[in-house]
Symmetry: C2
């Protein structure tokens, strides 16, 4: 079987073109179009400072129906006032005009620098070009996935096929994100951008609910620098073209499983491509009093610059991990807890465990590092993904603007 | 007038000696002794993972009376279980024995790596040596201020003299702190260590109250990496030897002013000596709905790695500042707010302001950078100090342990 991609679900086409918005010559305007009115759901940043396309996107998602997604990279259209809002609306109008649909059936997104007006002449030409360049093959899906990148070094995609009765359903997604990654997305409310397509048939309320749940255990459980962007957006379009309906307990379970798998794979790829990252750190907290406590502990550990630097240096400096758990602001008792790094016990019930530091340091020199904290206060658990903090992160971010 | 120091307040002597606990040859055991039973107050870390000396210190401060403070650097005595607690108590016993007081009148502190037992043979010799080496001159005060340092590059001290009626009162302090600095100290609850001496006469309850207030607008309003330490401690000893009593509105006002000045100076020195720091960033938020909202906005901006990297690169990337305010989790409206960097307006009421980016970048190349955010939602204000994030921070922390 050919490798699945964003346009594998029946009914979808995509494109990515170069319009000159990014400073480097690379695709910077992308479009996903469904050949029919798709059922749609989206979650957006909870930042009180949200970009113009987020404002417009929240309006357009209300009816749960979309035909297209239009995205530019290289400029976030955030903190741009009334002109910025007019520009985001114009992106929808231009897209609607080009593909033949109401502008309210288009979801706009932007990513890049904050506080600059969009170069609308370039955006206009880019949208017209993108609409003409639509295609359904893997190459077109790849061009879209490139068009949404900023400081990312890699394209990010994931897809699964599964059966609902006798019908084969496909669910695919692409995303971008490398810095300013600390998503806290809420219902209709990351600069994480993620777009999912599926040919399943599903109601808008159910799609909204399942997307919110999947987001919480994937994008919202991942952090690079904990800076919640003004533009974070995750949207899914369901064409229904497979003929399979997601309306029974069994079909919902299969769809949920596929949705979680794709969202978690995409979130993992963002952590792996975090600005300056050399490794992914997977933090699993178990035995917390509540799931929100477990998430808070995992995220507090994930966001400690000291923990992230130790991970970069392959340094088994576990005291930084335990102390981060202690200031998470939720119930935690070091005398009850056990901490393992790469399955090696380093701390047990308030006391250091004996371990070979040199050997553990070698184990930490890996593409993925496992941190497991057992709290022994309850039965709730949570996982958070992050990356290490390297000098390269500073290089990238000390001189992004000028 | 000679420069004031930790032992300028009448009644105090200090020492700092080398005991071999630090890996480099530098003073690592220090002692402050009052010639009488001093009125005392202290605040400690609110981390649920707190070091053994914090546990013992909380017990010993209850009565509001202390004779001495004993400190070692090079080992935090945190996450060290029952043996760690016994070692912290032994530090008090050894000090009490050496200077002739009850061990419960001694406040112990430790700072350094987490999760290693104290080398008690070295600690014991160090304490005996420190007790013999006590002196009241500036040189002795300096030795103490060196003995508490870890990754710090500079000693940190501050002192003021003021009049209460006809009496001259002196209030002095020293502190350490460079990394793992995100103090959240509470009554009797920073690895910020700060010790203050004064020859004012004051009651323990009033001293406790004034120390807590001063801490909130100084140490607790300062962050390097927002990692709240297991060992943070700020303690003050009041000998009363000046003859001046702090018991009237006027004397309380004079004492409070001196206490705030010394604490804010010390906190500023920690930010300036933050690991890898090249500059101090002063973030002033005004017009918030409440003081706690103002603090939360200021601290969220101060902790954003993106803001800190931009400051390091002299990059007027103000979108990172406004977006950080937006995810602080408190009321904030970009359409109402105004942001200035080094007094240059960059953002006004939801829209970018016109400014010369090249000129502003040159203004940001300074030892202290001013960020002023006017929220226009209320009348509350707060200030937070932080430092920039440089590659040197990563170098220091990717390889501290091994």
């Amino acid at each position: 079987m050919a490798r699945l991609h964003l346009c594998s679900p029946a009914g979808f086409s995509a494109s990515g073109v170069y319009a000159g918005i990014k400073s480097k010559k690379a695709n910077d305007v992308g479009m996903i179009v469904c050949d029919r009115l798709a059922t749609a759901a989206a979650v957006f940043t909870t930042n009180k400072v949200f970009a113009a396309p987020v404002k417009v996107g929240r309006e357009h998602i209300v009816g749960g129906k979309l035909r297209a997604i239009v995205v530019n990279a290289g400029n976030a259209n955030a903190c741009t006032g009334k002109q910025g809002e007019a520009d985001a609306r114009a992106m929808c109008q231009l897209t609607g005009f080009a593909i033949g649909c109401d502008d309210k059936r288009v979801l706009p997104s932007s990513t890049g620098i904050i506080g600059h007006l969009l170069p609308m002449d370039k955006v206009e030409r880019g949208i017209a070009h993108a609409a003409h360049a639509l295609g359904q093959d893997r190459e077109h899906a790849l061009r879209f996935s490139e068009a949404i990148l900023t400081t990312d070094l890699t394209r990010k995609e994931a897809a699964v096929g599964f059966k609902i009765g006798r019908q084969t359903v496909t669910l695919a997604g692409v995303c971008k994100g490398s810095g300013m990654i600390g998503p806290r997305m809420g219902p209709p409310q990351a600069t994480l951008l993620a777009y999912l397509t599926t040919d399943a048939g599903i109601s808008a309320p159910l799609l909204r609910k399942l997307l919110a749940l999947a987001t919480d255990s994937s994008f919202n459980a991942m952090t690079v620098d904990d800076h919640t962007s003004t533009n974070d957006t995750c949207a899914i379009l369901a064409s229904g073209a497979s003929g399979a309906k997601i309306d029974s307990a069994r079909s919902i379970k299969a769809f949920t499983s596929a949705l979680n798998e794709v969202c978690q794979s995409l979130a993992y790829q963002i952590a792996a491509d975090g600005e300056g990252a050399t490794k992914v750190v997977k933090i699993e907290v178990e035995g917390a009093q509540s799931e929100s406590d477990a998430r808070m502990i995992a995220r507090t550990i994930a966001n400690s610059p000291l923990v992230k630097c130790a991970m970069h240096g392959n340094d088994p400096n576990w005291g930084r991990i335990v102390s981060a758990a202690g200031y998470a602001g939720v119930p935690f008792d070091p005398d009850q807890c056990t901490l393992t790094l790469q399955k090696v016990m380093v701390f047990q019930k308030g006391r250091p465990a004996e371990f070979n530091a040199e050997r553990l340091s070698k184990l930490l020199d890996a593409k993925e590092v496992s941190v497991q904290l057992a709290c022994r206060l309850g039965s709730a658990r949570a996982t958070c993904w992050t990356c290490d903090l390297s000098k390269e992160y500073v290089t990238i971010n000390a001189d992004y603007h000028t």
